[in-house]
């Protein structure tokens, strides 16, 4: 009997410990879930690291970068233009520094950069407090811009006050498209170089990207209805991706593979993958790895039978991206529109500053 009582007491203690354990697990799970949800970066809130995945100066296209200090104290910013001109996977970086006074917005055209010239006339491109000397990018430049909040000594500082936008313009047609910079906020006050985008020092990068798009070669329903279509309009989409793993001290070399699943309106799915380097720009449906899955049945080799489709991209490492769609009528008159991608999941990454 004493044995049974002892066993019963032991059983009760075991149950109680389970309940206690479940309770503790519950608290940790809730906290972890909360942490995972709250610590992912994005394009609609200020942050301490800004990533502009697509900056171009090609042909007649040029880019204006806008960066704003949304805080009430001075903000030192260390910026890096990244480009991969030879396609080897090595991303060279050119850096410069900005100093933004409280609440100061600034802007520059990348083909011209920005000089320090206090005599700039009222309303001109250089008017305002010059944030620092910003170098121009050379003709043919395609790449990205990354900016990090630092202190006066260049050490990472998490004020969480930067926001940015990019305007891409075609000076021959007047066309324009615009997207928001991707912002990563600090999670901790103790920041160090390299920057850990792991949810404990800075927010994480997305683990997946969702792209709403029309397959290459689709007819544009609005141009066909209102414009010069005649069943010859043409939609194409350019996707640009930037790795969150950046070694800005020694150059960036981060090869990998992006896996994707494309769904059309019939719920048919098509999968594939394409290689990714530190910075990748790809005309979807116009490369060997994306021909069938991102191309309309109107074009040779195309598999997508509907105008509206979604692609879910799964990333081996943290990536951010921007899509730019081009809508042409039968005469070749083209309008473009950029949009930020939808994001999900979380991936850790590291950025190493010089």
């Amino acid at each position: 009997m004493r044995g049974r009582t002892a066993r019963r007491i032991a059983m009760r203690a075991l149950y109680r410990s389970w309940l206690l354990g479940i309770g503790m697990l519950c608290v940790f799970a809730g906290a972890a879930g909360s942490q995972a949800q709250q610590t992912r970066s994005g394009t609609d809130r200020p942050g301490s690291i800004l990533m502009f995945p697509k900056v171009v100066r090609t042909g007649q296209r040029d880019t204006i970068v806008q960066i704003t200090n949304t805080g009430n104290s001075i903000n030192w910013v260390h910026c890096f233009y990244l480009s991969a001109p030879d396609g080897s996977g090595y991303c060279g970086a050119v850096d410069f520094e900005l100093v933004l006074t409280r609440q100061q917005p600034t802007q520059w055209r990348v083909s011209q950069g920005r000089r320090v010239d206090p005599t700039d006339s009222f309303g001109s491109a250089g008017a305002g407090f010059d944030p620092g000397l910003i170098p121009p990018v050379p003709p043919g430049f395609q790449g990205a811009l990354v900016c990090v909040e630092v202190d006066a000594n260049g050490n990472p500082l998490g004020q969480n006050r930067l926001k940015g936008e990019v305007t891409i313009m075609d000076d021959s047609t007047g066309d324009v498209s615009k997207y928001n910079a991707f912002a990563v906020a600090p999670v901790s006050e103790n920041l160090s170089n390299p920057l850990a985008l792991d949810g404990s020092e800075y927010e994480t990068c997305p683990g997946s990207l969702t792209l709403n798009f029309s397959p290459r070669g689709s007819l544009d329903p609005v141009i066909e209805n209102l414009g010069n279509g005649n069943l010859s309009s043409f939609i194409s989409t350019n996707l640009t991706l930037l790795s969150c793993n950046l070694d800005l001290a020694a150059g960036v070399r981060s090869n990998g593979t992006v896996s994707y699943i494309v769904y059309d309106e019939f719920e048919s799915s098509f999968s594939g993958s394409f290689p990714h380097q530190c910075w990748t720009t790809i005309d979807l449906g116009n490369t060997p790895q994306t021909t069938g899955q991102f191309r309309s049945t109107l074009l040779t080799g195309g598999a997508i039978a509907t105008i509206f489709a979604q692609a879910q991209l799964t990333l081996p490492t943290g990536l951010v991206g921007v899509a730019e769609s081009f809508h042409a009528d039968q005469a070749g008159v083209t309008g473009s529109a950029a949009s930020n991608l939808h994001t999900g999941g979380a991936r850790s990454a590291t950025i190493r500053l010089p």
Partner: protein, 419 residues
Amino acid sequence: MWRCKRSEGDMKNARMAIRLPVALLACGLLASTAVGQKVSTEEAAGYLVFPKVVVDPSGALNGVPMDTVIRITNTSGQPSSVHCFYLDGTPRCTIGAGLDGDGACRTNDDCAGGGICTLSSCQAINFDLNLTANQPVGWRASEGVVTTGFCVGGTSPGFPCSVDNDCTGGGVCQAQDIGRVPPLAPGIFQGELKCVQVVGSGNDPNIPVNRNDLVGNASIYRVNNAIVDVQTYNAVGVQAVRSDGSSQNDTTLVLAGENAQDREYAGCSAQVIVDHFFDSALLSAAREVTSEITLVPCSERLEVDDNPAVHTLQFVVFNEFEQRMSASTRFRCFREVQLSQLDRRPGQEAFSVFNVGVQGTLAGQTVIRPVLSGDGNPGNGILAIVEEFHRNPNNNAVRSAAFNIHLRGDKRQADTVAY
């Protein structure tokens, strides 16, 4: 005695055995509600807001026909039911046929017989969508969805159809019924679209469901035989606090608020921030910029509100000299306005704090803060998008781009959306 004790002990054990699954259930509930859901333009959500949808097939508003393509995607592997509302924010003449015969107008000059061009309320039109797993759908707002399939093959694959004869070039019509969406043409429509993920079945299929599976974006076109101008923005997603698939209790969505138990969705932000070029800024000799902002409230009584609440907004504007100016404005259920007309009448834009002639620099930052109402009801949160119009002064050709605004801070006051 022993029997009694054993019985008591067994009962205790039984109670503990009951507590265990209850604890697990509570744990699951806590875990599903503990996550930090938010209002976002990039994450999947259970409630989508498209702040601006415009249809003007005749081009009466600005000389170029306009239409909007709306895309909504179910990112889940499970089917989703969606209940949507168009809210008509088109100003209309109190007297006169206006620009489209139905009273649509821009200013009083568009109204005959001394009529006033005004927007007193936003009438709602609702419709339902049924999305299969991972299904993306899209439609022209002018055309809606009035067919039951899509063309396959032929020369117009993907175009809507109901029978094979609707498809050109020998295509066949393959059934895919996503529901019916009312067309917004003929006539002029300016307004917003709100979509809620709902249970989709049972006695009240329009009860919201605690899931976060929807993403969306809208492309606004200005197109004629010589112009193709397209701008795209992401829908604002408001995430359900729980994402466990359970049904909510009623058709009133509670966005945040001080009482945690009442929260059903994430809350609108305390401030929104807009980076913009000042109006009339010259980015080059062939590129002069103006910006328009479209404002919609987070709180709304859809279908039943003849007298929507007035929202007061304060604007703090900074230029590149760190100089600060302010302005304020009011609106009801929808307002689309050029920045320079927020604080000045049409024709007086050069005197606005949003004009480059006043500010002297190209770029500016504007922080918009909704003024808190004293009674806490209705909520005063706002959502917005901004459009940039680049005009070539040499030939007056206009191209445009849209972008989402930034959000900052949490608002204590709850917003509610009732239908």
